[in-house]
């Protein structure tokens, strides 16, 4: 048994089925632990009061939004280079979760910004590139939805993901630079106050929980895509038969 065995959809379907409960339970337990840290162990911040507790979900969501996009670009590139069907399926399975986390990051960013800086929204580099990232996610999902042909859809979506992956850092730095010219001294979001270790721990635990959740959800989605695409094969028929 080598690693390549799992690159076949049939084996991967079975492997994913075994992995999903582990990741789902892991996500649940880590979330409870992370929430306990963030509400009952982390002390009140002396500068921001209780409002800072939003960062326990804001920061992991923002990390996830970017990581998931990078992972999608990675799978897309692998799929384009080696023509592996499974990598395209992974890329597709990740996109909705990535868009969800991007939205959560923007929403919690606004709710954190209001009490902290007195504004729901500022056009700072991170918020703006996060918004553009949401647009990219929506564009990619819309492109996948518009193309019926599986092969074409896989490749077209991955090409768009790749060109977006080149563009996002450029957008980030261009907005950052544009900002320093426009409103140099108003708010400096980059200077985060030094954080207590327990706060960092809460953020990390919730970030790992978000990873586990993403993996579980993506695997469920991949399994669904595999069933749909391989419906003509014997093994899918056997699986459905067994469930009847």
């Amino acid at each position: 048994m080598n690693l390549y065995t799992y690159a076949s959809p049939a084996n991967f379907y079975r492997l994913a089925g075994k992995l999903i409960p582990w990741f789902a339970w892991g996500a649940g337990i880590l979330t409870v632990w992370g929430l306990y840290i963030s509400f009952f162990m982390a002390p009140t911040d002396f500068q921001q009061g209780e409002a800072y507790r939003i960062i326990f979900i804001h920061v992991p969501a923002a990390w996830m939004s970017m990581f998931i996009y990078m992972v999608m670009a990675f799978w897309g590139a692998i799929g384009l280079a080696f023509n592996t069907r499974l990598s395209f399926m992974m890329a597709r399975a990740l996109a909705p979760t990535g868009a969800m986390f991007t939205f959560v990051a923007l929403w919690t960013g606004a709710l954190w910004g209001k009490p902290m800086w007195g504004a729901w929204w500022v056009w700072d580099a991170r918020l703006t590139s996060e918004l553009i990232l949401l647009f990219l996610y929506i564009g990619i999902i819309a492109l996948w939805a518009a193309i019926d042909d599986i092969r074409r859809g896989d490749r077209a979506g991955s090409l768009l993901t790749l060109i977006g992956a080149i563009n996002v850092p450029i957008i980030y730095f261009s907005v950052k630079w544009w900002n320093t010219l426009h409103q140099g001294s108003t708010i400096n979001l980059m200077k985060a106050p030094s954080m207590a270790k327990i706060m960092l721990l809460g953020m990390l635990v919730l970030a790992i929980a978000a990873w586990f959740y993403t993996i579980a959800v993506a695997l469920v989605r991949v399994r669904r895509v595999i069933l749909e695409r391989e419906r003509q094969t014997e093994w899918v028929k056997a699986i459905l038969e067994k469930e009847n």
Partner: protein, 222 residues
């Protein structure tokens, strides 16, 4: 090699001269969008000069989208696109020639119209000059990145709207640097930095976009 690009270019320009209405529509659209803003925000000259560069740049990006959905679609419908892609010449050059033709048809007239709108927005001569420079460097970026979107959405239902959704986020750096250059010269900080970054983004787009567009074109035609 460059003869193939020239042939594609000549062909597209000839087709464009037969359909004069098409490229006029993009220019009228540019003028109209820009003219709506003073009606919406009020005619105060100082404010118009303040928002002018951004408004003109946004209008230019929107105008570029109008003709983009047709970039490959017409040739796709009559089957000539497939022939050109299957020909021994590299598809990258085909995309490059098409993008260049799009820019000549949409970008050059835009450069001629923009100063008039700049005057309407109360921009100084110096600012108008920088606006022209930024559009000269920036509109080819729009044509190049637009080629990627046009190739990806080729032949899809509602492809035109989808194209807009896919491409506008990618235009953001060009918009920031382009409008920023004019802002910079008006604020007295100079336009050189913005223009050099815009130039760098142009070079990057020129190096990457045609490859991705040609890959997308081949995927769409399979």
């Amino acid at each position: 090699m460059h003869r193939f690009v020239l042939a594609v270019l000549r062909r597209d320009l000839t087709l464009a001269t037969r359909r004069r209405g098409d490229w006029l529509i993009a220019q009228f659209f540019f003028v109209m969008v820009a003219s709506l803003f003073p009606l919406g925000v009020g005619p105060e000259p100082a404010m118009l000069a303040r928002i002018g560069p951004g408004v003109l740049w946004v209008a230019a990006t929107l105008a570029s989208l109008l003709s983009l959905s047709r970039l490959f679609a017409d040739d796709h419908r009559d089957g000539s696109l497939e022939h050109m892609v299957l020909s021994p010449e590299p598809t990258v050059l085909l995309v490059l020639g098409k993008s260049l033709a799009h820019w000549l048809i949409y970008g050059i007239p835009l450069l001629l119209v923009a100063p008039v709108l700049g005057i309407q927005f109360n921009l100084s001569w110096e600012a108008i000059w920088v606006l022209e420079l930024s559009l000269l460097l920036g509109t080819p970026i729009l044509s190049l990145l637009g080629g990627v979107g046009a190739a990806l959405t080729l032949g899809l239902r509602g492809g035109g709207v989808l194209l807009t959704l896919l491409i506008l986020p990618l235009y953001v750096p060009a918009l920031i640097f382009g409008a920023g250059a004019v802002d910079g010269v008006m604020a007295g900080t100079g336009a050189e930095a913005h223009l050099s970054l815009l130039g760098a983004f142009f070079v990057l787009s020129l190096m990457i976009a045609p490859w991705i567009a040609s890959a997308a074109l081949r995927v769409s035609l399979e």
